[in-house]
């Protein structure tokens, strides 16, 4: 199994991040671990046609921040007000 996973935004930008980080989102976790071999698990890449590039980037940042946070270092995760709404929609979708 590869340790990284490729996340593709609506515009086609590809983010290659650690699997461990991506699994912070329950939806992605299920995509990659559900039995029966869905295409995402087979190819190690997930396409999000409803998530724009800046949001997906922010999300990836959040994944890493969250991993850090989980290991005890408390810092603030900065979110620009203008993307808040979209980000929250995506978060709901990803269950993160």
């Amino acid at each position: 199994m590869k340790d990284t996973v490729k996340l593709i935004s609506a515009e086609g930008f590809e983010f290659v991040i650690d699997k461990k980080a991506a699994m912070v989102a329950n939806t992605i976790r299920n995509m990659l671990t559900s039995p029966g071999g869905f295409s995402e698990a087979q190819h190690g890449e997930v396409t999000f046609p409803e998530i724009s590039t800046p949001i997906l980037e922010k999300i990836c940042q959040y994944f890493y921040w969250s991993l850090q946070f989980a290991s005890g270092k408390e810092t603030e995760f900065h979110i620009d007000p203008e993307i808040t709404l979209e980000l929250m929609l995506a978060a709901n979708y990803l269950d993160a």
């Binding site: 939806t27 029966g36 269950d95």
Partner: protein, 734 residues
């Protein structure tokens, strides 16, 4: 603040872009439905999780959750019906395997479906109070497969058939069994209970009921228990291998009831192999098996215990009442000890050191030891034997072991005062004759008695030891003062000064001592009274011993070890050759019974007959005549003329001791009554009897009739009075 106008915030609901396509829901569901079909057909590899998830997400978001849910139910139900058909058509042994395979498929599919419908599980289902997807899948499986009429009964009978096969020794596919029972558990413990456990327990009960019937007809007890234990272990193993853990207690209960509880009495009383013969033959393995099996059922242990108790009492009773076995007291006590050891070992090895069994053993011993009124005497004789010779050359630890065993028997005695009486007599003889093997052992036993019965019980025994010690010192002082004034030519004397009261002495008229002895005795008396004023010395001539140097024909010299009485008799022959019985009696003043016994041991014991008797014969008559037996010879230089050692008492002696014991009990009972009345002031008759019995039971069991007599005597002496109104009440008069 008040002057400033408040700006009111208003947060508007976020408006989704309205779906214009009225067929949106239907279309989206078609995609998902197709995916579900593909999943069930093992074709999921081409599907995009993200796409399916997004579709389900959007359906829920756009308020089509209801459609999604009902569609799922319908699709899943359809698939399950298909599966059910395939399972039903499976032939014979393939049935379970097909069921297992389909279950695995369904489970996997269910998990995938749950994953893609995760958003519905998270939001729609809690708010609409529906069953979550996973649980829904299990319920549908239960309703469509397990509860389908064609599968339900077939499943149960197949499972039971397989277990039956395994019980008769066949090998079955345990992994498959485990999967199926686990499936039933996954569907809810109720499903497991109804569809498997209940019928399983019923069938097992039948099976074991038949089997145990068959076994009990054909096996002996040990064999049967062996089989029962094996069955029990098999069932427990079965549970651990492929049944739910909660079933264990239920199935073992079935086996216990059918194989043990229902046949308990028959097993225990089985002829030639039941509990009694196991006990007799020390069958530790069988006994231990019986214990561990019977412990599982109610009343099991008490059944064993009751049978053991009655067996012990029966054999014990035979032991203590068999006149054959009463002939030798030492052997008698040894038998008791052996019996106790044997059962102690059984309880340790087979009965898990169970306290209740130990208690049963103790109470049985207490019961039968006291059936024989001579037990206290015999136990004391046993100790006497051990302390005289039995313990010679035995290590200190072993001595302690023997003494502890004796103490254990002592504890069982009800008439401890009778034991004390005999023990005192025997101890006195041991001390005076210097026959005791080890002073340490004597003292150790006294310490044990003291811890058991208190200071009062042993104070006199300890007094005896003190007397012995002081006597030694006194004798040293006596000889130190005499050596100058008197030659060492005369007879040497060893006096033991005994405190009256501590020793079991009877006032007895002293016999006439030979003049040689008389002289030394008088000197001692003068010496003793010189240092201790205000005391009175009486000679206990019935208790002493003497060493005599005698010369027989052919200049044969011997040293004779005899009792004081015998010494007196023999000394008479220094001055005359032939004496009649009457002459001896006159000269010595020895009481007739003792005299006869002494003469008998001097003249009639082969190899020790230093006197000749005329006429010859075994018994001493009043007109017999005696002369020194010049032909006496022995290979030993020292000859011990049998002083009658502590032996079990003859009938009249026994009566006498008994009487003395009864006599000694009177003041103790009176003291107890007074103690009780002093604190209670007023008490009725029955209560006094109970209290007195309670106070004295450490020493003996007082007879209620005797207590009544003592009360009457106390009334006469005005310690108590009867209540004027109620004649049953007594009052204490201070």
């Amino acid at each position: 603040m008040s002057s400033q106008k408040k700006r009111t915030f208003k947060i508007e609901a976020f408006k989704h872009h309205v779906v214009v396509d009225p067929k949106y829901a239907e279309k989206t569901w078609k995609i998902l439905e197709h995916a579900i079909h593909e999943i069930y057909n093992h074709n999921a590899s081409g599907l995009s999780f993200e796409e399916l998830y997004r579709n389900a997400y959007n359906m829920v978001l756009h308020k089509f959750g209801e459609n999604l849910y009902s569609g799922l139910v319908a699709t899943m139900t359809w698939h399950l019906k298909e599966m059910s058909k395939s399972i039903e058509s499976a032939q014979g042994g393939l049935f379970l395997e097909e069921l297992n395979r389909q279950w695995a498929d369904h489970n996997k599919a269910l998990q995938m479906i749950r994953d893609i419908l995760m958003y519905m599980d998270r939001t729609f289902i809690p708010s609409s109070h529906k069953t979550p997807v996973h649980e829904l899948g299990l319920n549908l499986w239960r309703d469509n497969i397990i509860h389908s009429s064609k599968i339900q009964t077939r499943l149960v009978s197949t499972l039971l058939e397989l277990i039956q096969k395994e019980r008769t020794g066949e090998v079955i596919n345990r992994g498959l069994m485990r999967n199926i029972t686990k499936m039933l558990m996954d569907l809810g413990s109720l499903v497991y209970l109804e569809n498997f456990e209940k019928p399983f327990l019923e069938v097992s009960a039948n099976f074991y009921s038949c089997e145990s019937q068959q076994f009990i007809e054909s096996c002996d007890c040990g064999e049967y228990l062996n089989k029962a234990e094996r069955r029990l272990n098999e069932e427990m193993e079965r549970v651990s291998q492929y049944l739910d853990a909660k079933t264990e207690s239920k199935i073992t209960h079935v086996v216990e009831t059918e194989m043990i509880a229902n046949h308990m009495q028959r097993l225990v009383y089985m002829e030639c192999s039941g509990l009694v013969s196991m006990l007799v033959d020390d069958k530790y393995d069988d006994l231990s098996r019986m214990y561990s099996l019977f412990r599982r059922v109610p009343d099991g242990l008490s059944t064993i215990r009751d049978v053991m108790t009655s067996h012990l009492r029966e054999t014990g009773k035979q032991l203590v009442t068999d006149p054959d076995k009463l002939r030798d007291p030492v052997d008698f006590v040894q038998r008791l000890l052996n019996e106790k050891d044997k059962h102690d070992r059984i309880i340790t090895a087979a009965f898990n050191n169970d306290k209740t069994f130990q208690n049963a053993l103790n109470s049985s011993f207490e019961y039968f030891i006291n059936l024989n009124s001579r037990s206290p005497e015999f136990i004391s004789l046993y100790v006497d034997d051990k302390l005289r010779k039995g313990l010679k050359g035995v290590s200190e630890e072993d001595v302690e072991v023997v003494l502890d065993k004796v103490m254990m028997l002592f504890r069982y005695l009800q008439e401890k005062d009778v034991f004390e009486k005999y023990y005192k007599q025997h101890l006195a003889k041991r001390l005076l004759s210097g026959k005791t093997v080890s002073d340490d052992a004597e003292r150790s036993l006294i310490v044990k008695l003291k811890t058991e019965c208190g200071y009062q019980f042993t104070s006199k025994l300890e007094g005896m030891f003190t007397d012995m010690k002081t006597s030694q010192d006194t004798m040293q002082g006596f000889y130190a003062s005499q050596s100058a004034s008197d030659g060492a030519d005369g007879p040497s004397l060893a006096v033991q000064v005994l405190t009256t009261g501590s020793w079991p002495t009877q006032p007895i008229a002293p016999c006439n001592l030979p003049p040689e002895i008389m002289g030394v005795c008088e000197r001692f008396r003068a010496f003793y009274l010189g240092t201790h004023t205000g005391r009175r010395l009486t000679w206990q001539t019935n208790m002493g011993t003497a060493d005599l140097k005698a010369t027989f024909a052919k200049n044969q010299k011997h040293e004779l070890n005899v009792s004081t009485y015998q010494m007196c008799i023999l000394m008479l022959f220094n001055s005359s050759d032939r004496l009649t019985y009457r002459e001896i009696e006159q000269a010595t003043d020895i009481p007739a019974s003792d005299l006869k016994r002494c003469l008998q041991s001097l003249a009639c014991v082969k190899g020790k007959n230093v006197l000749g008797k005329d006429p010859m014969g075994k018994d001493i008559a009043e007109d017999d005549a005696f002369a020194v037996n010049d032909k006496f010879s022995s290979k030993f230089f020292k000859v011990k003329i049998g002083t009658v050692a502590a032996q079990k008492e003859s009938e009249p002696e026994k009566q006498e001791t008994r009487q003395r014991v009864e006599e000694d009990r009177k003041p103790q009972i009176e003291a107890a009554i007074v103690r009780i009345m002093k604190s209670r002031r007023v008490l009725d008759h029955n209560n006094i009897v109970t209290e007195v019995t309670k106070q004295l039971q450490a020493r003996f069991l007082p007879n209620p009739v005797v207590i009544k007599k003592r009360i009457e005597s106390l009334i006469e002496r005005e310690f108590l009075e009867r209540d004027k109104a109620d004649r049953k009440l007594y009052r204490y008069l201070a």
